[in-house]
């Protein structure tokens, strides 16, 4: 792909909520893994019966602080997370100032957001009414939230982004795939600037699904996380024309799918897919494995998946150091790739390489490969440079 400029960042995650300088400071300051006690009580649902649940929430998430009090009542948690991330990113990129357009225009700024299970909260809430009472009593004002793209639709409404609005769903690879989609939308002239990112919200249904899947220790040390993050992605020309600060460049993308070897397997970590996606991303970026200083992986504590991902990275980029932001931020699924992108941007801007799971921290970080192994045989990778 042509190099694209990252001109701003907004994030709400396990480390807190803020823009680019906030995230860089947090990555430099915090211990790599908060204990359940330090993390504080779960607030997204009544978790009193599940003490020490392996959950990483956004601590003290307070959307009203960023969005005001009006209009929040009918929005679900995912929508509020995305709205906060989008507002912060637009301001961090200098596209908006004091909630007014400063550089962009509504018609030329778009949204491309990855999400995996966003409508789960609303569907489950309405299912509860339908199953326990009567389907005639479901709240129609909550019904739009059952549609997967509603959260990103609200981002356009709240921030007045009319160029385009696209939701991408590809599990925990979606955050990286969204970048590839945004690249095509910039290339086809559908927008000058695109907020590209991802979001996932904690809910009781999501937690219970993962607890059930993890019975017998199948999920290892993985903790389910939540949050939202947006990067402002622009053509080099747009960024230069408005003299925007450029935090990093996105220069390559690759993806692959490999089917499981037998008919009954569904969940499948494919080393071959990860290797192919990583190689394609390097070729797309016009760099070699030697050029890469650091890999930002999707390693999350899930043994079978981590092993395949690390083996693929070792095969394509022998000896390169690997960090695993999910050990701090949790497995944020649809947001995971976008969180990794944000961390990669900070690593290119001097944040320390932590938590390292392979190798030593490099003296200088100029080229980063971000990787993600999907749950069904898919894998994606993105290259970022200074």
């Amino acid at each position: 792909m042509k190099p694209r400029a990252v001109t701003g960042l907004g994030i709400t995650c396990a480390l807190g909520t803020g823009g680019e300088s906030f995230l860089r400071a947090e990555l430099a300051g915090k211990p790599p893994r908060l204990s359940e006690r330090e993390r504080g009580a779960i607030t997204s649902f009544d978790a009193s019966k599940v003490p020490n649940a392996p959950i990483v929430e956004v601590p003290g998430f307070d959307p009203a602080k960023y969005l005001g009090d009006k209009g929040l009542r009918v929005l679900d948690r995912l929508t509020k997370l995305l709205l906060v991330g989008a507002r912060l990113a637009l301001h961090d990129a200098g596209l908006k100032k004091d909630n007014q357009w400063a550089a962009g225009t509504a018609e030329r700024v778009g949204v491309c957001v990855s999400n995996a299970y966003g409508s789960l909260e609303a569907i489950t809430e309405l299912d509860r009414v339908a199953k326990l009472e009567d389907a005639r009593y479901i709240n129609p004002s909550k019904f739009p939230n059952t549609v997967s793209n509603s959260a990103s639709g609200y981002v356009s409404i709240w921030e007045e982004l009319r160029a385009l609005n696209v939701t991408v769903s590809d599990g925990n690879c979606g955050g990286l795939d969204a970048v590839a989609c945004a690249d095509i939308f910039l290339e086809t002239g559908r927008a000058d600037s695109i907020l590209v990112g991802g979001g996932e919200a904690m809910s009781e249904a999501l937690y219970l699904a993962f607890r059930k899947l993890g019975e017998g220790g199948a999920l290892g040390d993985t903790r389910i996380g939540e949050g939202a993050v947006f990067l402002a992605l622009e053509t080099i020309e747009t960024a230069a024309a408005r003299s925007a600060k450029v935090l990093a460049h996105v220069t390559g993308y690759g993806t692959a799918f490999v089917a499981p070897p037998d008919e009954t397997t569904l969940i499948y970590a494919s080393r071959a897919a990860m290797e192919r996606a990583a190689k394609l991303a390097l070729v797309d970026a016009g760099v070699t494995a030697e050029d890469v200083d650091l890999v930002v992986s999707g390693v999350s504590g899930l043994p079978s998946f981590d092993d395949e991902e690390l083996a693929a990275i070792a095969a394509v980029l022998p000896g390169k150091p690997v960090v695993a932001p999910k050990l701090v931020l949790g497995e944020t699924l649809g947001a995971g790739g976008s969180m990794a992108m944000a961390v990669a941007v900070e690593l290119l801007n001097g944040a320390p390489a932590s938590p390292l799971v392979r190798g030593e921290a490099p003296a200088q970080v100029r080229t980063v490969l971000v990787t993600s192994v999907g749950y069904y045989g898919n894998a994606s990778a993105v290259v970022l440079t200074t």
């Binding site: 995996a116 389907a135 009319r162 696209v166």
Partner: protein, 417 residues
């Protein structure tokens, strides 16, 4: 680089496979019937465009059936038909130069219904663990890629009722940008109780008939189905001597940023999306022969859409029709099934009718193809769609080589890989 449709596959309430689908469209057959999939006695409405003739085992292996919910089953059945229609040999989708890009609104809604039902009524221990990974709209292209032997990009675009157009438009962009040679695209949606109840509660659902553009229209009728298309770059299609069913022209895409469910009353975004589709095809409005309307049969939609037609085409009354009068609103699948209907129009010159049209509405002052199919010029058509989220999306479809060749976009560096 030109992009062609070389194969289509259909699972619909008016026919399985393109032959039956095309015949039904031309005859104006209704697929609306009483719902059998779930108990509607308490819901206040009882009709839908349910696909009752679909028997998954006719199209899928037993193992495939076990892996999937109904939405993916319909998607895969239609995908198999499309690949056969395109004459793609087994193994033709191997390697990284192919992609599976599908749209949907709710995806595997029956899987979640089962999971939620067990949990809510009986408690967590009743939830079947093996069922959990089967939920997620992510799975549609995964299942299709696996069954077809595709090894490149897998992607779901959950763009609600514009999902078909989103997927087809993005697939065409992928091909033009040189990122792929063949893309299997389209969309699928299944009828499901919660979503049916939701539309009733939004007071959007008509009692028994969907009557787009009629003065007395009472809303939409939900439907289900899958429409899958094989798209190829010109080079790839020519190399393997594929038969070209139609060409994909420009694709327009905007967001209203106005209301989460209602279209903008001035339809600015919809207007801009339609103009984009025409301009991006290198055409002028005068060259459009026919418009497949979104035409849901709701008061707001049809009025706004008529306004867009008048603004885009000025005094010229371009024929317009809504297949939703026959299919119902198949949500995510709608603009994919309708794109395939447009292929029929381009092939045969038949404009499918808007059935149930009785009384003209002054607010919808457009040339509706009322009740019976009509024949007319058929070189270039538009496929219009709108969706929750303020989405507007329009695709231009044309007979091969009837529109100017678009200039290539982006670098094709991945080709070297």
């Amino acid at each position: 680089m030109r992009v062609f449709i070389t194969g289509v596959g259909v699972v619909s309430s008016i026919g399985l496979g393109k032959g039956d689908f095309f015949r039904s469209l031309a005859e104006g057959r209704s697929g609306i019937s009483q719902v059998e999939a779930f108990d509607v006695r308490n819901l206040g409405r009882e009709y839908a465009g349910e696909v009752k003739a679909f028997r998954p085992r006719d199209h899928l292996s037993a193992a495939e059936l076990r892996r999937m919910g109904r939405c993916s089953q319909m998607a895969l059945a239609a995908a198999r038909m499309a690949v056969a229609d395109a004459g793609l040999a087994p193994g033709a989708l191997r390697g990284e130069r192919t992609a599976i890009v599908l749209g949907t609104t709710m995806g595997e809604a029956d899987v979640l219904e089962d999971l939620d039902g067990a949990w809510i009524k009986k408690g967590e221990s009743a939830v079947r663990r093996a069922m959990i990974p089967k939920y997620g709209s992510t799975l549609l292209p995964i299942h299709v890629a696996r069954a077809l032997g595709a090894e490149g990009q897998v992607l779901t675009l959950p763009a609600a009722c514009a999902a078909g157009n989103y997927a087809i438009g993005f697939a065409a962009d992928l091909l033009r940008a040189g990122k792929a040679d063949v893309v299997v695209t389209g969309a699928a949606e299944m009828l499901q109780e919660l979503q049916y109840s939701g539309f009733v509660r939004l007071a959007a659902m008509a009692p028994s008939k969907c009557q787009p553009f009629d003065l007395n229209r009472q809303g939409l009728i939900l439907g289900e189905g899958a429409g899958i298309l094989v798209l190829e770059s010109e080079a790839h299609a020519v190399r393997r001597n594929a038969s070209l069913l139609a060409e994909i022209g420009g694709h327009g895409m905007t967001c209203d940023a106005y209301h989460i469910t209602r279209p903008h009353p001035d339809a600015v975004g919809s207007l801009s999306a339609m103009r984009q589709a025409i301009e991006r095809s290198g055409l002028t409005p005068g060259q459009i022969d026919f418009v497949n309307a979104h035409g849901t049969g709701t008061r707001h939609n049809d009025a706004a859409e008529s306004k867009v037609m008048r603004e885009v085409f000025g005094g010229r009354r371009v024929p317009i029709s809504s297949m939703k009068s026959m299919l119902g609103h198949t949500m995510g699948a709608a603009s994919a099934l309708e794109a395939i209907g447009c292929v029929m129009t381009l092939e045969t010159g038949i404009y499918p009718p808007t059935i149930g049209y009785e009384t003209p509405d002054p607010e919808c002052d457009v040339d509706v193809v009322a009740n019976e199919a009509r024949k007319g010029p058929h070189d270039i058509v538009l496929n219009n769609s709108l969706a929750f989220g303020g989405y507007n999306s329009v695709t231009c479809l044309a007979k091969p080589y009837k529109i100017p060749e678009p200039s290539p976009i982006g670098s094709a560096r991945t080709k070297a890989a």
